[in-house]
Amino acid sequence: MNFLVASLCMFFAGGLACLATTGRPHLTRWVGSSVALIGGALALVPTCMVLGGRVLTGLHLHWSMPFGSIALDMDALSAVFSTPILIIVMLAAVYGTEYLRPFEGKKNLAQSWFFYNLLAGSMLLVVVARNGMLFLLAWEIMSLASFFLVTFENEEESVREAGWIYLVATHIGTAFLLVLFVLLGRDNSTLDFSSFAASPGFAGIAFLLALVGFGTKAGFMPMHVWLPEAHPAAPSHVSAVMSGVMIKTGIYGLVRILTFLGSPPPWWGWLLVSVGAISGILGVLFALAQHDLKRLLAYHSVENMGIITMGLGIGLLGMSYQSPVVAFLGFAGSFLHVMNHALFKSLLFLSAGSVIHGSGTRDIDHMGGLLKRMPVTGLVFLLGSVAICGLPPLNGFVSEFMIYLGSLTSVAGNMRLPIAGIVAALVVAGSLALIGGLAVACFTKAFGIMFLGEARSTHAAHVHESGLAMRLPMAVLAAACIIIGVSGPFWMQLLGPAIAVATGVATDTQIYPTFAAHALWMMTLLAVAGIGLVGLLTFVRSRLLSARSVTREPTWDCGYASSTPRMQYTASSFAEPVTRMFNVFLRTRRRFSAPTTYFPTSSSFSTETRDLFHESLFRPAFTMTHRFLSRIHWLQHGRLNLYILSMIAALLVLLVWKLG
């Protein structure tokens, strides 16, 4: 616990220290990143202890604040969420030292590092807080800090807009959380988590409040609208932290609240499955339609949060139908995917940052052939892509596999659920399959168009590989993706205590489905064998070619002699068949000016896919509210007589109402 407190102090006090270095960018860089590293390392100590099976005694200090107390605790559930937080924060900090270097002297980097460390500290505090006031305060600081990080490049109109949308969305989400926490501790004199009723009468309402409140942060559709705006706007290392771990605090909050609400009725699981499926499928579809790299990745966060939520939904269904195995698998998949997504999404954002850093554009359609100039970035991006598509042998598959197992177990065999559960499980399996297929489409597009082929613009032709400080964190993350990918059973074992917390069973009675462990072992075996086979085949192939003629020619273009890089498929054209099929959701706008006359001079074609919910739900709602409220305006008409009349009217109304 002392380490934890020391780490929190480090983040907050060290953040202030960053502010003090204003004007000395060199110092700022060192102080800012080392604060993040030391703070992260300090907190990793208790986190690893808990993951290793130790039980720490919580901290409960007096806090001069009504309903508040400084109650901190690191249980297994917190540890599962704080691990990715700390790791990503540390790696992104290292990355940030180089990424922010071009801004030195132009922007106030001290402020940026201050908010970065504030964000890190508040995220950590969110997962270890055991008091409602402390939690909400940390939650709000987290939102505020990330808001200022998002608006780092505030001279851009779009960034300001993104910041606004982000803070509004997150604040409205918080409004639900305020109600939630007040309801949970309604009749108590404290908001300590330990005092929350085990299963209050309004559990359904509380669940819905938590779903909306935390779902806004987690980016569930349709509350995700801030996400595709804010993540592209932020500097890449911040996007990595936000997309990789900050949105996970929403999942953490949801799971934590569920532990207060008693045994869940089936409709909770159903709701989570539906929300997850919608977020997952629409998330990946919208990602597919984007050609802004970071926007694409942001939509993939929505997708992955959907997968995590489906896992939670399966877990809840398992709980409702008293099937601990299904519950275990659902939660295990969900939690592991939390970690995995943190790793590969941060990896992707960091490598995207490296690309943007090198090329100066975010538009995939302007890139091409980057792999030759940025070999490391390209390789890690490829690994990240394979991982996020959930393909073996990388980590994304392990967690998706667990969710699949959960849904399979609920469908068939002696542990099958009642029919409602089965249908939900099928929805999960089908959605995961569709998401997987579409994700492959999306990331072959992203990787293929960006890194392969020929450069489509001068941006792409003059890129350069990033420095060591940027490459190292990416390499670490990529390695982690591989390691988790081939060590599935170990992670399942590790997650046991956290699942026990989430499902409310005693840690020592937590069951571990042996068949799942066996399956994961077999997968590891298969993965190792497959990798061996790849090695073998590579060897064979090189032997075959060693003595023969290997020549290099232009790409075969079916007889057409003078093909140019501009004739390559672009990201938009690559995704066009799929996006056309789902145009009912995507509503891609095409702007096309066709070539005219016999000697056409110019023509253009561009597409833009705005967010469905932003365009069709929130914007009209805002417009309508605006229009409605503008009618109210006449009330302040400037006529004194009528003002006084309204005063008299108020008097009369009150007299009649209260005395009549």
């Binding site: 393909l391 596999f401 399979l408 068939a412 089965i422 569709l434 489409a441 293929g448 082929g453 298969l526």
Partner: protein, 308 residues
């Protein structure tokens, strides 16, 4: 140890016999067209010849292009380890291996597509785009279909599912199994780029999917690609044959014999389909695949109804 090698037999069987299916399909089509046709073992000699040649690479390509055939072949071979043969368990069998089966094939597809994009050719980009489009729809169809089978038999691994099938399965869930079979067949045609989804024999690059993606391969790489494609045809076909024939309850060597016969019949059926149908418009292919998803879904619901 000995039993392990025995259990590896199905894998070896597939490795050896897969190119034969191509020959059978070609021969069937030739018969329909009234031609003499190429020899049944033509595919083997093609592969052998390619392996002996040198290679020409596009200047645009990178190591990704060269890695893809290797990864593709390794993936499909790994998948074969999971594949049972009528009445005989697969060498490796575990709960949920059907998901691994599908996802490892996904890995193969990922690299095929990426390699196609590596050439920077607009034709290959076109093929890649179509491939991801159709497979994204094929994937839910096969997953739901297999989950339906799992639900029908109560087992969660491929070997378990097929060994649990018996004649009564057909009696209890006959219509559902037929629907799953139909769905799997559509997926099989789509994944292996057969008519009516794709035409592997056309010379018009614009109308192809798989063949256009591998336009730039030559020599041993092309051999690996073609062999992997043949193996993929084998493994997906094996699913269909297993579903159709497992209920007969034969095992051991008789099962293997039945299986091989089934595979050959499947190849003939494919040949017939290819001879009798035209390649459908690319715009219509998604409908076919969505139909497959629907068939699987209906089958699942039927099974849940029957077994609930």
């Amino acid at each position: 140890m000995n039993t392990f090698f025995v259990s590896l037999l199905p894998v070896l069987l597939g490795l050896v016999l897969a190119p034969l299916l191509l020959g059978v399909i070609h021969r069937t089509k030739a018969v329909f067209a009234g031609r003499h046709g190429s020899p049944l073992l033509q595919a083997y000699s093609d592969l052998a010849k390619l392996l002996r040649k040198g290679a020409v690479y596009s200047r645009t390509t990178t190591w990704v292009f060269r890695a893809a055939p290797v990864i593709g072949l390794a993936s499909v071979v790994s998948v074969m380890v999971l594949l049972p043969i009528t009445g005989n368990s697969a060498p490796l069998s575990f709960v949920g291996d059907l998901i691994v089966f599908i996802y490892v094939l996904g890995l193969m597809r990922f690299f095929t597509v990426v390699a196609a994009l590596d050439t920077g050719s607009s034709f290959e980009g076109m093929g890649a785009s179509r491939e991801v489009h159709f497979s994204a729809l094929a994937e839910p169809a096969i997953v739901v279909g297999l989950v339906a089978l799992a639900s029908a038999t109560g087992f969660l691994s491929l070997s378990g599912i097929f060994s649990a099938m018996s004649p009564t399965t057909w009696v209890v869930a006959g219509p559902a199994l037929a629907l799953v079979l139909a769905a799997l067949f559509i997926v099989f045609l789509a994944e292996n780029s057969r008519i009516p989804i794709d035409d592997p024999n056309t010379h018009l690059e614009l109308t192809m999917i798989h063949e256009v993606m591998i336009l730039d391969y030559s020599g041993p790489d092309l051999a690996l690609v073609l062999y992997a494609a043949a193996l993929k045809l084998w493994v997906l076909g094996a699913l269909i044959v297993n579903v159709a024939l497992s209920p007969l309850g034969l095992n051991g060597i008789r099962g293997v014999g039945l299986f091989v016969a089934g595979m050959l019949v499947l190849a003939v059926i494919v040949g017939c389909v290819e001879s009798m149908m035209a390649r459908s418009s690319f715009l219509k292919v998604p409908r076919l695949l969505v139909t497959a998803i629907a068939l699987s879904g209906i089958a699942f619901m039927l099974i849940v109804r029957f077994t609930a």
